[in-house]
Each structure stands twice: as structure tokens, then as C-alpha cells.
């Protein structure tokens, strides 16, 4: 279990880091027309099940998997997991960035902030609840998909316990993210 959590930690951090950079570059440097046109392509990538990306990445990193080295496998699994989450997490981050009105960016730009500094010093702190909510939703979806695949593949024997845990994680995760979203919009409205 601790190994799985470690893999999840590596994967989540990787996805947040690369997804964050992608989202900032996409939403702060691209023109609105380009964003609108490529929105459907990104949505398409997001709707592909994570296991498909996982399988592709696993094929890519196949030669690095070494059953005698635990560390090697840990890193490869983390990379695969991060790659699985990347399309969804970057798409959600882009949406959060785009939900911020241009006024706020203008305020930061007028004081000499670069788009990256604006994103990190203004947009991320002001929208942190929405960012956390996006991360929770992505982790929950990944966790549930992994468990389902393991269940179908026959690696997990106690099926009922797994199904119950999937439902529990899905319900708690969705509920927490909705709560965060609600509290964010409530504080915005004040």
C-alpha cells in the first residue's frame, strides 16, 4: 500500500508540474482564437480512458522496467501514472486559468509582471481552491480506473472490498471537490 501511495505521489507531482506549465503556456501565451479552436481537441484527449495512456506509456518505458530493481519500477510507474493524469489535469488547469477575468491579469501586467509571474503570484493563489478541487477529481478518477483494471485483470482477489473502496473514494473525492468549488465561488461573491 505504501508503495502505491509513493507511486501516486510521484505521478501526481509530475502531472501537476507539467500540467501547470502546459496550462500557463496555453492560457497565458496563446491567442483566444487558438484556444477556442483547439478546445475540442483537448476535450477529445481528456475523454480517452486513462488506462489507454497508461498502456501506451508502459510500452514506451518497457525497456526500463526491471523486476530486480524496486526503485526503477517505482520511477517508471510514477511516470506512467503522471502521464495518465496529464491531459485531464492540464485541461482542468486551463479552464481555471481562463475563468479569471482579464482585469486581474491587467493589474499585474501594469506593474511589470510577466505572464508566468502573474500566473504563479496572482492566479494560482486566488484560485487555489479550484486548483485543489481539480487535482482531487483527477486523482479520484485515476485511482478508481487503476483499481478497476487490477480487479478485471485478476490481481485483486477481494472484489467486494475493492468495489466498496472505489465507491467510497469516488463519493468522498467528488463531494470534497464540490465543497471546495462552492466555497470558492461563495468567497468570490462576497
Amino acid at each position: 500500500m505504501s508503495g502505491f501511495l509513493l507511486i501516486l505521489l510521484i505521478g501526481v507531482n509530475l502531472a501537476i508540474f507539467i500540467g501547470g506549465i502546459l496550462a500557463i503556456t496555453f492560457s497565458e501565451f496563446s491567442s483566444l482564437r487558438f484556444i477556442n479552436r483547439s478546445r475540442s481537441v483537448i476535450e477529445l484527449f481528456t475523454n480517452v480512458p486513462y488506462v489507454v495512456y497508461g498502456y501506451l506509456l508502459l510500452l514506451m518505458f518497457n525497456e526500463f522496467i526491471d523486476l530486480t530493481s524496486g526503485f526503477n519500477n517505482l520511477i517508471v510507474s510514477g511516470l506512467v501514472l503522471g502521464g495518465m493524469m496529464l491531459p485531464t489535469i492540464s485541461n482542468k488547469f486551463i479552464r481555471v486559468f481562463q475563468s479569471v477575468p482579464y482585469d486581474q491579469r491587467e493589474g499585474a501586467y501594469s506593474m511589470g509582471a510577466t505572464p508566468y509571474k502573474t500566473a504563479l503570484m496572482v492566479l494560482v493563489p486566488s484560485q487555489r481552491k479550484l486548483f485543489i478541487s481539480s487535482i482531487i477529481v483527477t486523482i479520484v478518477r485515476t485511482f478508481c480506473e487503476i483499481l478497476i483494471v487490477l480487479l478485471v485483470a485478476g490481481f485483486i482477489i477481494d472484489k467486494i472490498a475493492v468495489i466498496i473502496s472505489i465507491f467510497m473514494v469516488a463519493i468522498i473525492g467528488t463531494w470534497t471537490s464540490q465543497l471546495l468549488k462552492k466555497s470558492h465561488y461563495k468567497s468570490e461573491a462576497l
Binding site: 486581474q104 501586467y109 501594469s110 506593474m111 511589470g112 509582471a113 486566488s126
Partner: protein, 246 residues
């Protein structure tokens, strides 16, 4: 302080400012007047290269700031020396303290003593120190619109700019707040050079030393406020002053 030569600005390949020439001296308040959509708001934005995100803008011509060509100054540095405030207060959804120190943190000042000192100076300049000194960590949502706009100004002043650009700063304020904000602009003249776009020509008469009248992207007339209002040289300016063009 600022020398503008043959400034032309195109929005999506269409010129919205045409051959503007202007000289602005230190500690002057220059008001820009004209009917809506005739280029007066885009002029200050051309100075610090901060255009709206809705279209592609192209700037031609030379702008000299203290003898230096602004095109040769990095955009970030230029915007720190030429601050700007907007028609709507655009504070960040953070505390008052974090808002004012944003610019200072941006240039790498993190020393609490220095930040506190600068906050006090900025808030005193905009007349908010007495009201806000005990609630610096409160969110900005507690403030009135006028206080928010003053805080925007304080945030800009914290960076100690030499020129302040104001794009219709009193547009969202009520009449009593408007007049007190105008007094503040007039007071700031002692320390800064101010270029202000006004929504009402009478406001230009109240606060400015010089007035520039924009019409169809052209700077029709530029001169001392008193002269523009009493003896306009151009027929168009006279039509605007007398209300035939609005």
C-alpha cells in the same frame, strides 16, 4: 519627461491612432478628452505597451521617456517606471497588505521592514493610512469602491513610478467620491507626472494643466487647459467644448 513622435497604433491592421505628436513635462497633469472610441484610451496604453487582449495591436513611431527610447527599455522595467490604473478597481483577491506589496515582491523586495515602510508611505499618499492601518490583513472585499480605487493607486505608487497613467479612474465612482479622487490626483501632481483619460470634459478642466483632444484617432489640439477651453484654435475642438460633438 515624455516625448511622443509620430505615434501610430493599429488595431487588427486598422489605424486607431494616427501621427500623434506630444511633449509632456514633469509634474504636469495631462488630460485626454474626446468622444468615446476615438483613441484617447489607447494612447496611454501605447506608452506602456499594455493593450486589451481582444485584438492584435501594432505600435509605430517613437516614444522617448527621459530621453530613452521606450522600445529599448524592457517592458517589465518600463511598466514599473510608468504605472497605470484602470477605470475599474482591479485588486487581486488577497489581503490589503498582499495587494500593496505585490509590486515590491515582484522586484525581489521581501524585507518586512522595508515592505511595511513602503506600505505606510503609499497609503499615506492616497489618504488611506488612517482607515486601513489596523486592518491591513483583511480581504479587499471589505473596502468601498473609492477605497479600492485608491488602493489600486497605492499599489502602483509603492513601486515609485515617475509617470502614472490613468484610464478613466473615476468612471465607477459616485459624484462625492469622484471629487475627492480628483483632489487626490491634483495632490499627486507634486511628485508625479500624470496622464489621465477623462470621461467628462469638465473634469479635464478641473484637474489638468494641459488637455489633448482626440478625434478619429488624431490629436486635433493639445495645449494649456485654459487656452483650450477659452480660445480653442481648431473648429473641431470648439465643437467638442460647446457640445456639438459628443
Amino acid at each position: 519627461m515624455l516625448q511622443i513622435e509620430n505615434l501610430r497604433v493599429a488595431r487588427n491592421e486598422r489605424y486607431i491612432l494616427k501621427n500623434v505628436n506630444m511633449t509632456i513635462r514633469s509634474h504636469e497633469i495631462v488630460a485626454l478628452v474626446g468622444p468615446p472610441g476615438h483613441g484617447k484610451s489607447i494612447f496611454p496604453r501605447a506608452i506602456n505597451r499594455l493593450f486589451p487582449s481582444d485584438a492584435a495591436y501594432k505600435v509605430e513611431g517613437n516614444i522617448f521617456f527621459e530621453g530613452r527610447l521606450t522600445a529599448s527599455i524592457p517592458t517589465e522595467k518600463l511598466r514599473q517606471e510608468i504605472g497605470m490604473i484602470f477605470s475599474k478597481p482591479n485588486l487581486f483577491p488577497m489581503s490589503i497588505y498582499e495587494n500593496i506589496t505585490f509590486g515590491l515582491r515582484l522586484i525581489g523586495i521581501t524585507n518586512k521592514v522595508m515592505l511595511d515602510k513602503q506600505i505606510r508611505i503609499s497609503l499615506e499618499l492616497v489618504g488611506l493610512w488612517k482607515d486601513l492601518q489596523n486592518i491591513l490583513n483583511a480581504p479587499i472585499t471589505q473596502l468601498s469602491l473609492e477605497q479600492q480605487q485608491r488602493l489600486c493607486l497605492a499599489r502602483t505608487l509603492a513601486l515609485q513610478p515617475k509617470v502614472i497613467l490613468m484610464d478613466k479612474p473615476t468612471l465607477s465612482l459616485n459624484s462625492s467620491s469622484k471629487s475627492s479622487f480628483e483632489e487626490l490626483i491634483f495632490k499627486l501632481k507634486e511628485k508625479y507626472t500624470i496622464i489621465v483619460t477623462v470621461e467628462d470634459k469638465l473634469q479635464a478642466g478641473r484637474i489638468s494643466d494641459k488637455v489633448g483632444f482626440f478625434y478619429h484617432g488624431n490629436l486635433v489640439e493639445y495645449g494649456e487647459t485654459k487656452n483650450i477651453f477659452t480660445h480653442p484654435q481648431e473648429e473641431l475642438t470648439e465643437s467638442f467644448i460647446t457640445g456639438r460633438i459628443s
